[in-house]
């Protein structure tokens, strides 16, 4: 089942950083994770990385998912990972999705991102990845 440690449901923040307004993918992932039994908070559009990290901390989520289609995924993810560290949230799984060219996946992982799911990724794989990631942390 979609449970984090202590038997509570896995909590996920799906966030749209920057000015990019393509939210179809983010919303599809929100529906997917909800159907998989997780609690999902969606930030809406145009959020700064500061706002996203604050929301992740306040909502005490287990997973942060960034959805980026503008091409700015490298600098945005880098900044998020730096702030996650500063705020002591390094125990969170961080997933990045969107219009991510193949050659950038390695770079994103080197920033400390836990998983990258470019356009075309399987929804089931995202669910499985989160569940296994949380399981591994118990």
């Amino acid at each position: 089942m979609a449970e984090a440690s202590g038997g509570k449901r896995i909590r996920v923040l799906i966030a749209k950083p920057g000015l990019d307004g393509h939210d179809r993918g983010a919303k599809v992932v929100v529906h997917t994770l909800k159907d998989a039994g997780m609690e999902v908070i969606y930030t809406g559009l145009h959020k700064t990385i500061e706002e996203i990290v604050k929301a992740a901390s306040q909502e005490d989520v287990d997973v942060i998912g960034l959805s980026i289609y503008s091409g700015a995924h490298l600098p945005l993810s880098k900044k998020l990972m730096e702030m996650v560290k500063e705020e002591g949230l390094s125990d969170k799984l961080v997933l990045v999705g969107g219009n991510i060219p193949h050659q950038d996946i390695k770079t994103l992982l080197s920033y400390g991102v836990t998983g990258v799911f470019p356009t075309g990724a399987k929804l089931d794989d995202i669910v499985k990845f989160i569940k296994e990631g949380i399981e591994g942390k118990k």
Partner: protein, 536 residues
Amino acid sequence: MSKPKFDELKEVILESGIEVKPLYGPDDIKDLDYEKEIGQPGEYPFTRGIHPLMYRKRPWTMRQYSGFGTAKEANERFKWLLEQGQTALNVAFDLPTQLGLDSDDPRAEREVGRVGMAIDTLKDLEEALSDIPIDQISTSLTINPVASIMLAMYLVVAEKHGVAWDQVRGTTQNDILKEYIGRGTWVFPVEPSIRLIGDMVEFCSQNVPKFNPFSVCGYHIRESGATPVQEMAYAFEIAITYIQEVLKRGLGIDDFASRIAFNFDIHGNLWEQVAKFRAGRRLWAKIIKERFGAENPRSMILRMIAGGGGGGLTIQQPENNIVRGAYYALISALSGTQTMALCSYDEAYTIPSKKAALISLRTMQILADEMGLRDTVDPLGGSYYVEWLTKEMERKIEDCMKKVEEIGGMIKAVESGFIQSEVSRQAYLQEKKIQSGEIPKIGVNKYIMEEEKTQIEFHAFNPKVAEEQRKKLKEIKAQRNENEVEEALLGLEKAAQTQENVMPLVLKAVRAYATLGEISKVFKEVFGEFKEPVGL
């Protein structure tokens, strides 16, 4: 002859929920009255097309979406596209520009010049349109919440080229309601945003009669997940909302309805799309005539740009997208569109490369010149299936519109998040069906191949663009007359607070080289900002 056994066949249900039989005949359209329901092209209810001779007289306009980086780079690309035989421009702006932020705004960091060109002041647009024959082309400006500012800039550039406003042809996308549903470049709350659209329509009807002040985009609603029926129904409800806003100002429907333009999407089932457009033309004509009492037939026509939707393209086996693009162009021509814009094959990945943009343009040209698509008007008209499906689509679109009207119209439906939630649920259902293989998608869930992963040429983002843009902005601010800017912005603030039309004041501010960000800030202070409903 034995009757074919239909029961054993797999059922076919279109995305819009219509079940398709394996065969259609005269019985399926026996209730259809040709004169009343179909009619001659160029005549009410315009089912077969909005012109009597359609492409036989003039092919569709070919317009690819383009423009990135600096104004200078965009200018070069525009000139190149015009040299290649493109007949109109479709301008892309970067996200800060689309959201009314200057290039030196902290929120614009990393976004300047990325997905389109950066415009901070009139100076940038002057450069982008340098040596472009404004009087001979029509220009589409893809900008929404701050469209009023871009329109003002465009008009001042035209003036500087010596082109009178009544000769200026073009379109500002300016469809804010669809931005709340998909695409997401919104700034101000719903009501004042619609007021700005009303101001522009009123201003254009009096001063720029050949300009389309807004283009209602079913396109982005469909790209966000809507079915073809929802795409058309929501677009119509949006257009009706803008019409009502303009009518409140005392204009008559025939004073402006002929300038209403639509932007629709093409991907998915060929017949469903063709029927969508034929049904849409008929229904729109009826709405404008019967509901709004228009008398001029020009008011009743559904004028549209339609083209290949990015939503149908795949990252897998990207060259297949060239073929998809060609089919979308075919659908577009069979549907009787006025302007065609095709997604380029690399669009699922990146901003179209020059090569990909050229292939799209050539695709449309091949269709027009080699394939006989211009020979005769509405060649599918009279087909038992197409006419039956057109009627079914019309019914479904009407039902979907009724649902929106029952909850109080499009403003309420968008403020509450109803439409957003309908569309995102549909996107989810569709994605699940693709992932399960229920909806076949070549290269994605069928005929999958191991692929080289680096065969696409990426549009490289140049960080120097932002630096140059900020430098230029600083220079302009140093050169302009600050008193003049301040006075213009103050005047604009007063107009925004009252019912006064803001356009003359926006023009004044633009002429004084007030920045896009400064003008937007005035609106933000008076109107506030939109709060997005995030419950799905």
